[in-house]
């Protein structure tokens, strides 16, 4: 625990630095935020969630009282090592393209006999969603430092990519926003937050390879599902259903565009 106290102290000190930075030039502030991110990498609280996720993965649960250890994440039953870097992918048993989070739901249902509808219906920050976030964090950590290697060989994988690309530009709601409104240009910001240009390999990698991430501002661990849902919230869209095709399609668009980039999961964010 001592390590985490240290991490908290670092967060506090960094926030103070950030506040001082606000009086300086905007560029200086961004530099300050970068330093603060660097400092936090030494003690990312996401490690706590990884540990929780690993426990949940290995613990017998559900009506069948078995663990998730035999779950097939695409590299064979029980192989977690490197699996996240190759997701989303097509799964024959479900005849669907799935990301890590929707695949975990499949395994909870088939292996453990869990009725996963309550996980789908749950709210962000609920115990159900926190469990899924922790498990995704654990899985993502087992792909840290591995290159993204997402296949578009199966027609359904290619279709998901194309649908994701189309969704990226889809405008709606009172503000006419699409993903592209904020994430479709090089070198722009919202307030001081720099925005990745997602349709480029570099921008896609910046978005894709650092989630799941611990969010310092909210003290929460967010998987990509939550990240996407919050993008849509800010776009003034209705909420994407957990694991729905829109979320898989956008993930596929980002992941395949960032192929070859190195996974830095779990990440840490403002």
């Amino acid at each position: 625990m001592r390590r985490w106290n240290f991490a908290l102290a670092a967060v506090t000190a960094a926030s103070l630095l950030g506040a001082v930075g606000a009086f300086a030039e905007a560029d200086k502030s961004i530099e300050g935020i970068e330093k603060y991110r660097e400092a936090l990498k030494d003690g990312n609280p996401a490690e706590l969630f990884e540990a929780t996720g690993e426990e949940l993965w290995k613990k017998p649960a559900g009506p069948k009282n078995v663990s998730l250890e035999k779950c097939d994440l695409g590299l064979g039953a029980g192989v977690v090592d490197g699996a996240y870097a190759q997701l989303p992918r097509y799964f024959k048993d479900t005849d669907k393209v799935q990301d890590a989070e929707s695949r975990v739901l499949t395994c909870m249902s088939t292996l453990q006999g869990v009725d996963v509808s309550k996980y789908v219906k749950a709210k962000w920050g609920s115990p159900e969603r926190n469990d899924l976030n922790a498990i995704a964090t654990f899985i993502s950590g087992m792909s840290k430092d591995k290159p993204v290697k997402v296949s578009l060989a199966h027609p359904k994988e290619q279709a998901m990519f194309n649908l994701g690309k189309r969704m990226f530009y889809y405008q709606g709601g009172p503000h006419d926003f699409s993903c592209s409104t904020c994430h479709g240009q090089e070198g722009v910001r919202i307030r001081l937050q720099e925005l990745p240009n997602i349709p480029t390999p570099k921008g896609a990698a910046s978005g894709w390879t650092s989630w799941p991430a611990y969010r310092v501002s909210s003290g929460q661990m967010w998987g990509m599902q939550w990240r996407l849902a919050d993008c849509f919230r800010q776009q003034r869209f209705p909420e994407p259903i957990y694991g729905s095709d829109v979320t898989i399609a956008l993930s596929m668009f980002m992941a395949a565009t960032s192929n070859g980039a190195i996974m830095a999961t779990p990440g840490i964010k403002r």
Binding site: Q158, F161, N162, R233, R236, F237, P238, V246
Partner: protein, 208 residues
């Protein structure tokens, strides 16, 4: 205001989905529509109706349309339609209070699934624009508006252009990234007047 949105949405309810513009295998109109309509749920005021596009949104959802030569005619048509929708101030007064305008520009609140109906919406301006020199936390998706009034002739044309641009930016640039503040009922007439003052009043810090 709700009524306005409803009427506008009904008037503008063009084909909800643009024609297939070659998005590649598996992403034709039918497949895309099926995906969108099965993937969302309503939360609070963020209703499923928000997924239905008006003509401007449908057109601008193809990135090629923003600057493609072949789409120039269609862009002009969309701009004309949006221009026709602009409502000028009911009492003929264009400028309000710049201090109130600064608050509107600062606030990015309103109309998300976690916002409450009836609350005051913000203009989201600083998210994308530099405005007052005192605010260094500004975005860069839109151009800097620092010294906006000082840099322009103080005449009716400037005033009308600025009002129109805030009310409905798509009247001037069909696929602008800027929300249609007045047209979509995001901000009120009074809020637009206050933003006008923030940009044009010689006393506003923007013009100091």
């Amino acid at each position: 205001m709700k009524k306005t949105i409803l009427i506008l949405a009904t008037l503008a309810a063009a084909p909800a989905f643009a024609a297939d513009t070659n998005w590649g295998k598996g992403a034709d109109d039918a497949a895309f529509k099926a995906m969108v309509h099965s993937s969302f749920r309503e939360v609070g005021m963020a209703t499923l109706a928000r997924l239905d596009q008006d003509a401007t949104q449908a057109f601008c959802s193809d990135p090629k349309h923003a600057d493609d030569k072949d789409a120039a005619k269609m862009r002009a048509k969309i701009e004309a339609e949006n221009m026709a929708s602009i409502k000028w101030p009911s009492d003929g007064k264009f400028l309000g209070d710049w201090k109130a305008g600064e608050k509107v520009a600062q606030s990015g609140r309103g109309l998300t699934s976690t916002d409450k109906p009836g609350q005051v919406n913000g203009g989201n301006c600083y998210n994308c624009h530099q405005i007052s020199p005192k605010e260094i936390s500004y975005g860069t998706i839109g151009p800097s508006l620092l010294h906006y009034g000082k840099l322009r002739p103080n005449n009716e044309e400037t005033i009308k252009y600025t009002w129109g641009r805030i009310f409905n930016a798509k009247a001037y640039n069909a696929c602008s990234n800027m929300p249609r503040g007045g047209h979509m009922g995001i901000i009120t007439e009074q809020q637009i007047k206050d933003l006008m003052a923030l940009l044009l009043d010689p006393q506003s810090p923007v013009n100091q």
